[in-house]
């Protein structure tokens, strides 16, 4: 999982109480959530990372997820400038709250637990008073929520580790993270003995936000993924598949599977897949894990020695 996405995945886990994470926000009544919501503000448009809400008291939390130590001034001010009117103008009020006469809109900053001190300092420096949620592999904290009716502070240890990687990558993820999900797509195509896979369809499969990505955003991402696949096809996985650029439609390419371990004699297939692991490990700059051999059972020992079993 791209480390940048730990805050958003942590927020989702707290909203759903899943994967060993406590449902602390779910337990406060936050029952529905949306991501990447476009919202207009008096200072310009923003894409709200996560919009979560609860009823009675009616509260919408606009969550800005920060992977680093700092909070960007301009972006933060756009978030806190959103009030009920601007949210309604953007058409982003959840249906269940559309008729609310007492709707509160509040920004909540979400970051990583290890960056909490820096994020608190950043908010102080910007003179922004807003709840701060930080998520970590063994602790989650929400602070400065007391001024917001319907939201309570918490500080809880948990055993859920890093949050479930529902969003393993996004369109801004670094190449190494994209390759980590792209190569399995090539392997899956080989296992299915597919001949051709469109790069665009791979992008659709690996990118959770594909459906709400703009046309230009999609084109740019397809092009980036195409370049990554071209590089792997010409490098560590040479001879396994090749990348073909297409002039139409949209200059989007495809990969052509040249060989597949799935087409080999079943007796040599496992070794061929393991060879693919080594190639992929080289492309990912990782060391392939080596199988640990177990002890021979007495049955196997007897079989190898040709002993009678009856």
């Amino acid at each position: 999982m791209d480390d940048r996405l730990i805050p958003i995945n942590g927020l989702i886990a707290l909203l759903r109480g899943e994967g060993g994470w406590p449902g602390l926000l779910r337990d406060q009544g936050f029952e529905r959530h949306q991501f990447e919501v476009p919202v207009s503000t008096p200072l310009g448009n923003i894409g709200v990372d996560a919009l979560v809400y609860r009823c009675e008291p009616d509260l919408v939390l606009l969550s800005e997820c920060k992977s680093g130590k700092n909070i960007e001034d301009e972006q933060a001010r756009k978030y806190v400038a959103v009030d009920e009117g601007w949210l309604r103008r953007s058409g982003a009020v959840p249906p269940r709250l559309k008729s609310s006469s007492s709707l509160t809109v509040q920004t909540m900053f979400v970051g990583r637990e290890e960056h909490r001190a820096s994020l608190e300092a950043s908010l102080r420096h910007l003179d922004i008073a807003a709840p701060l949620l930080t998520v970590g592999s063994d602790r989650v904290r929400l602070s400065d929520a007391s001024a917001t009716r319907g939201l309570d502070d918490f500080d809880e240890a948990h055993g859920g580790g890093l949050p479930p990687g529902r969003f393993a990558v996004d369109h801004q993820s670094a190449d190494e993270h994209l390759l980590d999900v792209l190569i399995p797509q090539v392997i899956a195509a080989q296992a299915l003995q597919e001949d051709i896979v469109l790069v665009e369809s791979i992008c659709e499969r690996i990118l959770p936000e594909w459906q709400v990505l703009s046309h230009s955003g999609r084109s740019s991402f397809v092009s980036r993924v195409g370049n990554l696949l071209r590089g792997v096809a010409a490098g560590e996985m040479r001879g396994q598949f090749r990348y073909e650029g297409l002039k139409q439609p949209h200059t989007r390419g495809r990969i052509v599977i040249d060989v597949s371990p799935a087409k080999r004699d079943p007796r040599g297939r496992t070794q061929a897949w393991q060879a693919q692991q080594k190639r992929a490990a080289a492309a990912l700059r990782r060391r392939a894990a080596r199988e640990r051999a177990g002890q021979l059972s007495l049955d196997e020992l007897a079989d190898e020695g040709g002993l009678a079993d009856e």
């Binding site: 959530h33 991501f35 890093l162 529902r166 399995p184 296992a191 692991q277 051999a293």
Partner: protein, 365 residues
């Protein structure tokens, strides 16, 4: 329906009558002696035909049977015969996704056909029963088998918490009770996986049948009437279908565009708390992704933070991606929006036989 090349015309009931004859020890006059007298072996198979039609099933069957030297013949609606020089295998694809295969050939020949030709296809897989499902096998249980081998996933385990290997067969009155007794022992409970069950079915007027079923969807039957066996097989198939579809409906993850132009997330993360803490997590991770049977998982795992691993994996059985996350205390499985539920069923059943018999996947409320 195409004209059968062997010149036979057969409806499903005719097949059941022939298999009844075989069970009773008389060789049915069928397919020039390719259906021998003897026990009927059946397999529950999960199939993904290229299209949901008779043509799709025929295409898939031919693609796996012809390399094995078998001809494929349509017999009845959704009923097929695969026959070679000496043997015949019948495939009932009335349920297009979950098939039943029947044969009276030797166990070795059936095993070879399945392992060498059918299961290597990314479109076919066994059914993988959990211990709970096997325990629910109909009839009066007369025999249970428990086997366990932690050498694959915990090769250096001293065997103190989890037995290294275990093979037990219990026959007699209420054999489940003895296994339940072992399951309560702290020393042995991790190894007390239910591998196979033998059950006696009887019905006045129809006679009786003895059926043994294993956790890989295999059945062997003897007795006086195949219709008793057939009823059990179809009801087991229905329950297994409900189980797999339930896994897909609960655990497939995805995103959906909302009216407000945003995204909502769907599906649940499958989460299994390990019944015992893993002593050597590195070994478990290394040995789970060896691409070998029975897991057949491909991945290049990485340690995302100290003591936590993640793997963007591919289930080589079916060519579907999935993501797994581990610590020494739990495992999470994140299925793709199209990943087959049988992938999760296989993982659970094999963890019960290779990691801890108490491994359990809670279903969302």
């Amino acid at each position: 329906m195409r004209e059968p090349r062997l010149g036979i015309s057969m409806e499903r009931q005719d097949l059941h009558n022939a298999l009844t004859d075989a069970m009773r020890g008389t060789s049915p006059d069928l397919l020039d002696g390719r259906v021998a007298a003897g026990r009927v072996k059946s397999r529950l198979i999960e199939a993904h035909a290229p299209e949901s039609s008779a043509d799709g099933v025929a295409h898939l069957l031919r693609s796996v049977a012809e390399p094995a030297g078998l001809q494929v013949e349509a017999l009845d609606d959704g009923l097929w015969a695969l026959f070679g020089a000496d043997d015949a295998f019948f495939v009932d694809s009335l349920n297009p996704r979950f098939w039943l295969m029947h044969s009276t050939t030797t166990a070795d020949k059936l095993h070879r056909l399945l392992r060498r030709y059918l299961m290597p296809s990314a479109r076919l897989d066994f059914a993988w029963f959990s211990g709970e499902q096997l325990r629910a096998l109909e009839g009066e249980h007369r025999w249970v088998k428990s086997s366990f081998n932690s050498a694959d996933l915990q090769p250096d385990s001293p065997g103190a918490t989890v037995p290294r290997r275990w093979k037990v067969q219990v026959e007699g009155e209420n054999p489940d009770e003895l296994l339940a007794l072992v399951s309560r022992s702290e020393r042995y409970r991790a190894g007390a996986a239910l591998t196979a069950v033998g059950s006696r079915l009887s019905e006045p007027g129809l006679g009786h049948a003895d059926v043994a079923a294993d956790y890989q969807g295999g059945f062997v039957a003897s007795g006086t009437d195949f219709s008793l066996v057939s009823g059990l097989l179809w009801r087991t198939l229905d329950r297994y279908e409900t189980y797999v579809l339930g896994l897909e409906s609960s655990f497939r993850l995805g995103t959906v565009a909302t009216e407000e132009m945003g995204l909502s997330v769907e599906g649940e993360v499958a989460y299994m708390e390990f019944p015992h803490e893993v002593e050597d997590l590195d070994a478990l991770v290394a040995n789970l992704f060896t691409c070998k049977e029975p897991f057949r998982l491909w991945a290049v795992p990485r340690e995302s933070t100290e003591g936590q691993w993640e793997a963007n994996a591919v289930d080589l059985h079916v060519g579907h991606p999935l993501r797994l996350e581990f610590t020494s205390k739990w495992m999470r499985v994140l299925l793709g929006s199209q990943t087959c539920g049988n992938t999760l069923a296989r993982l659970v059943a094999n963890l019960q036989h290779r990691f801890d018999a108490r491994t359990h996947l809670p279903q969302p409320v």
